[in-house]
């Protein structure tokens, strides 16, 4: 079982950090998903006709968002998520060091 590690006794201070960590995670998620929706469904679909009045290097802007811009934004959103979560994991002491043999072995211990 992969979950054996969670049976280890909790560090002093109880599980307050868990609520904090999860809250931060959810906040970030909501912000990123709001941008995700605004760019793809907002600029790319709902307001495409208004944005198409503007032309940038040959592209009607709404058309550009639908066929190019939204994809770039999606990529940036995931990048932001990865970087922020790495920082959050480090701050809360749940970061995984996959390059270090010791950390990797501990993580994989229950599975192999």
């Amino acid at each position: 079982m992969a979950d054996t590690e969670d049976k280890s006794p909790d560090p002093p201070g109880g599980n307050g950090w868990r609520r904090e960590y999860w809250k931060k995670n959810l906040q970030l998620m909501v912000i990123l998903l709001a941008i995700w929706f605004a760019v793809s469904f907002g600029c790319g679909i709902l307001f495409v006709e208004q944005l198409n009045q503007i032309t940038v290097i040959g592209f009607p802007l709404g058309f550009w968002f639908a066929q190019q811009g939204s994809i770039y934004v999606f990529l940036l959103l995931i990048l932001a998520y990865c970087l922020y979560m790495d920082r959050l994991d480090k701050r809360f002491g749940v970061y995984e060091y996959d390059d270090e043999p010791a950390g990797g072995a501990a993580e994989k211990g229950g599975e192999s």
């Binding site: 992969a2 979950d3 280890s8 639908a66």
Partner: protein, 558 residues
């Protein structure tokens, strides 16, 4: 043999040889290697493998062609098939990896109940099967055009190659073969695109330069009886564009063969970064596709506009042999072009050939044409292999060993996994030779089904501890049933008459509504029935944190 056939044969033989070598070197002996590559795939390689797994014959062969004829409305595929990765990265990947087992049905089985596990195993088989048929057919098209092999034999050749490496090495060789296949397919896609962009606009970055031809393309399209390229909502109303895009996004995040890839990384952190690299590799092709669509359509229309039918460019005759391009018998001069055979235009071009024919249409040299053929095959085969693995694992791991042989050893599990995979390939070949509809359309239905079954159950299972088994089971059955019923209602299949869509919602878009129905039913039924057991809420709690907390955390104490 023509020059194009020689080059195609060279590229196909070389690439197939490479796949076989890689597969042999990474063959497996344990069940864990067969299903999840032993949880040991490096992040960037996993990203490339997901990219190849993801980008199917539909992405490579059909998508740019669809965009060429749909114009703005083709954006449903571009946004729909990339936006889902945001949902995957934020809502699913890290949590499923933390929980870390073999299959998607296994997660819902642990989270809810054995009944839910069986429902999702059946759903996984249906979804993956719908999808794999399109891949087999896509592979057949490539063979039939470039090597003048009958589509039937083309499908069989592709299947034999997949058979060898998928059955031999399971997820491990599929993953490493997919890394090679990604390389082949992206090179094959980018080289002609960059070449065409350079020739037509002088800027070798297709993503930027296709803006320059949009004006010309709009006026040419109107001249030949087509819609203005950049105008929205010409083929579908806004509500349908919205729902189809949503259904494809949610479906992407609910497809078992994509989700399963996040199980193969070493860590939870690795699964997040895999999602990033996957979308990075996918975006390379997906931002190029609209440019390929626009350039090819521009070239195509310019090449045939007002041309007498006996002086058409040579690609028309080459492709007419496959039956995918046809010239109206009564036309003397080409004055109208369409992708719909029923429209009665002077020249009818099937969407599926545009990418494969783009180097020829643009007059690029033979080696590039051959390379594109190898790329199309790589795309079809890599996706088919990933799907076959899901079918095999659902049938053997989630159904057979749960109900028939509950105490089988590792050796037997591996053997049965291989037999299930082989059987799936045989059935896929038969269905691939007689596909029900256009390649991309078939795939679109798989998304609706994935969206309305898996996604709500998994997301609610992670983010809502109160969600219980009865709720999830009812939600999945109602959501999937609703979606399939609407598809049967609007489509002419199994001898049923097709009805007009309700409120302009096409069968491709209904999955978004189905997902909502599923979620609402799950929530309502869960609240009406007792909460899940304590060990289940503890499991949900545990998958939310990547690793046990270190007492000496870096920068802790806030």
């Amino acid at each position: 043999m023509s020059e194009i056939q020689i080059w195609t044969t060279i590229f196909i033989v070389l690439s197939f040889g490479a796949y076989m070598t890689i597969a042999w070197r990474s063959r497996v002996r344990e069940t864990e290697g067969f299903y999840v590559a032993g949880h040991g795939v490096p992040t960037i390689a996993n990203g490339a493998a997901i990219g190849a797994d993801w980008m199917s014959a539909a992405s490579f062969i059909s998508m740019a062609g669809l965009i060429a004829f749909l114009g703005y409305d083709g954006s449903i595929y571009l946004m729909g098939w990339t936006g889902g990765y945001v949902l995957l990265a934020l809502l699913l990947a890290p949590y499923l990896r933390k929980w870390g087992k073999y299959t998607v049905p296994e997660f819902v089985g642990d989270r809810y109940s054995e009944l839910v596990r069986t429902i999702s195993a059946v759903a996984a088989v249906i979804v993956s099967f719908t999808y794999v048929v399109g891949q087999m057919n896509g592979g057949g098209i490539v063979f039939s055009r470039f090597l003048n092999v009958d589509i039937t034999y083309g499908v069989i050749i592709a299947a034999v190659v997949i058979f060898v490496y998928a059955v031999l090495g399971g997820m491990k060789s599929i993953t490493w073969t997919q890394v090679a296949q990604y390389t082949v397919l992206i090179i094959a896609y980018l080289i002609p695109a960059v070449a065409v962009a350079q020739v037509m606009t002088g800027i070798p970055i297709p993503q930027v330069s296709f803006g320059q031809i949009l004006d010309g393309l709009n006026s040419l399209s109107v001249e030949l009886g087509l819609e203005v390229f950049t105008d929205p909502f010409t083929s579908r109303p806004m509500i349908d564009i919205f729902l189809v895009t949503m259904a494809l996004m949610i479906g992407t995040a609910g497809l078992p063969h994509v989700i399963i890839r996040f199980y193969t990384t070493k860590t939870v952190r690795g699964s997040r970064w895999s999602a990033f690299w996957a979308l990075f590799f996918i975006a390379l092709l997906y931002t190029t596709a609209p440019a390929v669509g626009a350039f090819t359509k521009f070239n195509l229309l310019q090449g045939v506009n007002g041309t007498p039918t006996d002086q058409l460019p040579s690609w028309v005759e080459n492709w007419a042999a496959t039956g995918l391009v046809s010239v109206n018998q009564n036309a003397d001069v080409i004055n109208s072009v369409s992708n719909d055979p029923a429209a009665g235009a002077d020249l009818t071009v099937n969407n599926d050939i545009l990418v494969l024919a783009s180097p020829e249409i643009a007059g690029l040299p033979a080696p590039i044409v051959g390379l594109v053929a190898a790329g199309g095959l790589a795309a079809a085969m890599s996706t088919a292999a990933g799907l076959l693995l899901v079918i095999s694992s659902s049938v053997s791991h989630d159904i057979y060993f749960r109900y028939v042989r509950t105490h089988a050893g590792d050796h037997e599990r591996l053997l049965v996994g291989r037999i299930a995979m082989a059987a799936a390939i045989v059935v896929a070949v038969i269905a691939g030779i007689n596909p029900p509809a256009f390649v991309a359309q078939v795939v679109a239905f798989a998304f609706g089904m994935a969206a309305s079954s898996f996604f709500p159950a998994i997301v609610l299972g992670i983010f809502w501890k109160r969600c219980n088994a009865i709720g999830a089971a009812t939600g999945m059955i109602v959501g999937l049933g609703f979606t399939i019923a609407y598809m049967l209602y609007t489509l002419e299949v199994f001898g049923l008459a097709a009805h007009d869509p309700i409120l302009g919602v096409s069968p491709e878009g209904i999955g978004a509504v189905g997902a909502l129905v599923n979620a609402v039913v799950t929530v309502v039924v869960s609240l009406m029935t007792p909460p899940p057991a304590r060990h289940i809420t503890e499991m949900v709690e545990s998958i939310r944190y990547p690793s046990p907390r270190r007492t000496q955390a870096a920068g802790a104490g806030e």
